[in-house]
Amino acid sequence: MPVLGEFELLVLLAALRLGDDAHPVSIVDEIRLRTARDVQRAAVYVTLQRLEDKGLVSSWLGSPSPERGGKARRHVRLTREGREAVREARAALQSMWAGLGRSLEES
């Protein structure tokens, strides 16, 4: 199972939250909303491309719309491997976080 980078994990989690409405623009908004990080949409594009190359997400084209100049939107969803990778990442992070709460508050 490929190891996820930090930003890759953020993108996957945002896609998981958004469900069928997950696409680059909404993923950027979700990450900005929840992490207050200024995320570049270009970074999300490249990350989604990499995740799709790794088989962790799949994508499909929606319908074109006039608001998008007649272009279709590409939605993403996690594959089974993607969900498994997120679970593994959560487990790893939880393991690393275990017992650190108090020392963070004290410093």
């Binding site: 696409h23 680059p24 623009v25 570049q40 949409r41 270009a42 970074a43 594009y45 490249v46 491309q49 990499r50 994508s59 084209l61 074109p64 719309s65 608001e67 998008r68 100049g69 272009k71 279709a72 939107r73 590409r74």
Partner: protein
């Protein structure tokens, strides 16, 4: 504004995977992303692809090679800077040349189905004034099955006067168009509606569609304007709508008026002069098929044998003019590639010389285990860095230059996009790679082909640079020839520019306002002309007004002139001289006082008046040997009038008042009395700043007749600004290219001579020990360099003189190029060559035999 800008979309198409492209473009459109957002996306995908795929290709160049290359570049800044400057110049030329040629060849109207628009050209008989366009329009509209739509457009000659409520008058560039054509164009009005077919129906109320800039300039962008009337061109017209600024079809205009669909007339019952036909091809129909059909539907006219036959019709792309450009494109491409080849070749010579001077170091590296590929990679890395810098600079400079051209020449058609497109950038990248390969890898392969052991044994002097000696000599010769030719051209252009800018001393250019006036009704040319002159003369601050066919800096063409020689006189009787028709007061208004005889009077233009002429001082000097020409006769036609030549008595002489500003040697000319015609040039002499008279003059002429059209209302100083900008641009470009070529050649000469001295130190030492004189040493060393410089200078001088014969292709006169240009250019070349040779020669002469024989 398009989101993202068109030029970034090309870059996105290059790097974004096809499956994602629509999504990315859609997101940019939806979020109104600009160029910055698009470029960030381009960079992100470019790096992603480079890391995943292309990095493997460049694996043989490591980061340490690039760091080492950077260090070497810093150690030899002059050589590196010269190579970068030369490569930058070449890539700038390549980028601009390719962009221009590509646009001319393949430009289409910048909207969907823009490639379906075509021009329909009807080749009418030369002596015919019949407007066949109207009949053709009706035939094609009714019967053509290959065309979805047939339209007609006409550009109003001059600007129509817009008379505002405040009394202010503004000139508006106006286009006539068949009103139902706008439904084929994907532009939505900002307010109101487009023109519709009913606007061109007989008896329809006069309407106008205006442009956003005009709307904001005079009407504050008010939505209430739609449905109100404005007074444009002497007619009260209802404003039906406002089009956005990006709407410029068919040419830049600020207002669109409907043509009536029966007669293709605008405000008159007859067809608007200069009407042209346009078509929209049906999907799947080729131009050739449309042309074949239209030739069967064309009107018929009588040929020279008085036999009726259909007129010939041509269907051409609306934007690209294929006939000439299809021939021009390979020529431009050839010139670009030749320039690049010469520059890259010279850089290769420099890099090879540098490589040879490090032969010992490279031999040591090879002996320590570095493979040939690694050493070649290191040598190539230096040129890679130079190539990247030069490509980046070249693209940036070409973008800046084309933006300047776009601003300096606002009349460039709107479909011409002077920004480098994706194919141009691919071309530049390909050229840069070729540069790196040819100027980096190839010399590196040559330098490293010798056995390292042998190189160490011979102190790094093994291996034969013979091939590079011949190649280097040839490259330097070609480069010198290019430099001399370009600099000769630049000097001539500069001379022409100065002559153009200075103008004749007698003309008070800073006190003159000029305008081009177009009259509406042939029956009243005389009355209107007099009324315009009277109205202009009545303006405060005006102390002279005149009309003419040409003003200074708008050189009239050369005309055949016969001079009535007296028996025994040795005069040229058949000459060519520039001539202009001028009204009474014109010569005085531009600052010319009659030096002999008299000026023109009103009576000289009256019907039945004896034909007279006034000549200028250069004419008297050149064709009468300075003798008094009064009473003598010349046979000449009337400028811009279709009338036979007549014998005219010379009644006056004036100073040189600018009949040939660009080429003073063709200044000898003449003037004839002005007869009213549809268009003339007005000159107004002021006491103060002539620009301050612009608005009052517009208002005064609109008060005479609002249908009178004006254009080019500029002070005389600004007349010919386009030509000046063109000449200045050409001169600057040629100076840049010539100077870059010269600098590269001189640095190459210096580098190669220095290398030769280093390589031949022992040989020179032995020769000195055997009694060779300093002259002999210097001659041996410098012979090939001197040969290259001399041969290059001779070839370049010939090319330069030939190049300037092309001045006849220019729309304005340029001075002839005398042989004085050659020494002007050769002197700095000789000085630079001597400097380049001096240091190596000095080192050679300083070699002591004992020290030289110890050299490894």
């Amino acid at each position: 504004m398009n989101h993202p800008p068109a030029w970034t979309r090309g870059l996105l198409k290059l790097v974004v995977p096809r499956a994602r492209l629509d999504d990315v473009l859609g997101d940019l459109h939806e979020t109104r992303g600009g160029a910055r957002d698009a470029l960030v996306t381009v960079l992100a995908f470019a790096f992603y692809r480079a890391r995943s795929r292309w990095w493997a290709v460049a694996r043989w160049i490591t980061w340490s090679d690039l760091r080492l290359g950077l260090r070497l570049i810093r150690k030899q800044p002059v050589l590196s800077a010269t190579a970068v400057a030369a490569l930058t110049t070449a890539i700038t030329v390549a980028c601009m040349g390719y962009t221009f040629a590509e646009q001319m060849l393949s430009a289409t109207l910048p909207f969907p189905r823009g490639d379906r628009f075509v021009r329909i050209e009807i080749q009418t008989p030369l002596d015919s004034e019949t407007p066949y366009e109207t009949e053709a329009f009706q035939n094609f509209r009714a019967q053509a099955s290959t065309l979805e739509h047939v339209a007609a457009v006409a550009i109003a000659t001059g600007e129509l006067s817009l008379v505002l409520g405040s009394g202010e008058v503004d000139g508006v560039r106006t286009t006539y168009i068949t009103p139902d054509t706008l439904r084929f164009l994907p532009y939505t009005p900002l307010a109101g509606r487009r023109l519709v077919a009913a606007d061109g129906a007989p008896g329809a109320a006069p309407v106008v569609l205006i442009r956003e800039t005009l709307w904001r300039r005079h009407f504050s962008g008010s939505q209430d304007l739609v449905g109100r009337t404005i007074h444009l061109g002497g007619v009260a017209r209802f404003v039906v709508g406002v089009m956005p600024d990006r709407f410029e079809f068919p040419f830049q205009a600020e207002a669109w008026l409907p043509l009536d669909l029966r007669h293709l007339g605008g405000d008159t019952s007859g067809a608007v002069a200069g009407t042209r036909l346009i078509g929209v091809l049906r999907d799947g129909v080729t131009r050739e098929a449309a042309e074949a059909e239209l030739n069967t539907l064309a009107p018929r006219a009588k040929n020279r044998d008085n036999v009726e036959e259909p007129l010939h019709v041509r269907v051409r792309p609306f934007a690209a003019d294929l006939d000439d450009i299809a021939l021009l494109f390979p020529i431009v491409l050839g010139i670009i590639l030749l320039t690049l080849l010469v520059v890259v070749g010279n850089v290769a010579v420099l890099m090879a010389a540098r490589g040879w001077s490090r032969a010992t170091e490279l031999a040591v590296r090879a002996a320590l285990g570095a493979g040939r590929a690694r050493i070649v990679g290191q040598l190539t890395a230096e040129v890679l860095l130079l190539g990247v810098v030069a490509s980046t600079l070249g693209v940036l400079i070409s973008v800046a230059a084309m933006r300047w051209i776009d601003r300096a020449y606002p009349d460039i058609p709107f479909w011409i996009d002077l920004m480098p497109g994706p194919y141009t950038l691919v071309f530049v990248v390909a050229m840069a790679l070729v540069t790196v390969a040819f100027a980096g890898a190839w010399p590196a392969l040559i330098v490293t082909r010798s056995d390292p052991a042998r190189a160490l044994q011979h102190g790094g002097r093994s291996g034969s640079p013979g091939m590079f000696g011949r190649t280097a000599g040839t490259m330097i010769t070609v480069q010198i020839a290019m430099a001399v030719a370009l600099l000769s051209g630049a000097v001539s252009m500069a001379r022409g520019f100065l002559s153009y800018v200075e103008g004749p001393a007698q003309v008070d250019a800073d006190r003159l306002l000029t305008a081009r006036v177009n009259l509406p009704r042939p029956s009243s040319f005389d009355t209107l002309t007099r009324a315009v002159v009277t109205a202009a003369a009545a303006l405060p601050g005006v102390d002279g007004v005149g009309v003419a066919t040409h003003v200074p800096r708008r050189d009239p063409p050369m005309m055949p002139v016969e001079i009535d020689a007296h028996p025994g006189e040795s005069l040229s009787t058949s000459v060519r001289a520039p001539g202009a028709a001028v009204g009474p007061g014109f010569l005085e208004a531009v600052g010319g006082r009659v030096t002999r005889g008299r000026a023109f009077m009103d009576a000289d233009s009256a019907p039945g008046a004896l034909p007279v002429a006034i000549v200028n001082e250069p004419f008297v000097t050149q064709y009468f040997g300075g003798r008094n020409p009064l009473g003598r006769r010349i046979l000449t036609a009337t400028p811009r009038l279709d009338a036979p030549s007549v014998w005219r008595e010379i009644v006056g002489v004036v100073p040189d008042l600018g009949l040939s500003t660009g080429d003073p040697s063709a200044a000898a000319g003449f003037y004839v009395p002005y007869h009213p015609r549809v268009e003339f040039r007005l000159v107004v002499r002021t006491e103060g700043n002539p620009e301050g008279l612009t608005q009052p003059l517009r208002a005064a002429i609109a008060a005479v007749d609002p249908a009178i059209r004006l254009r080019e209302i500029v002070p005389l100083d600004e007349v010919g600004a386009d030509e000046q900008a063109f000449v200045a641009g050409m001169a600057s470009t040629m100076v840049s290219l010539g100077a870059a070529a010269l600098a590269l050649s001189i640095v190459s000469v210096y580098a190669l001579l220095s290398f030769a001295v280093t390589r031949r130190t022992r040989e020179i030492g032995v020769r000195v020990a055997l009694g060779a004189t300093p002259n002999k040493i210097v001659t041996t060393l410098l012979a090939s360099a001197a040969t290259s410089l001399t041969v290059g200078a001779v070839i370049g001088s010939v090319l330069g003189l030939l190049l300037m014969q092309a001045r006849v292709l220019l729309a304005f006169r340029m001075p002839t190029t005398g042989v004085w240009v050659v020494p002007t250019v050769l002197v700095p070349l000789i000085v630079a060559g001597l400097i380049a040779c001096w240091e190596p020669a000095r080192r050679a002469l300083a070699i002591q035999p004992a020290d030289a024989l110890k050299t490894e």
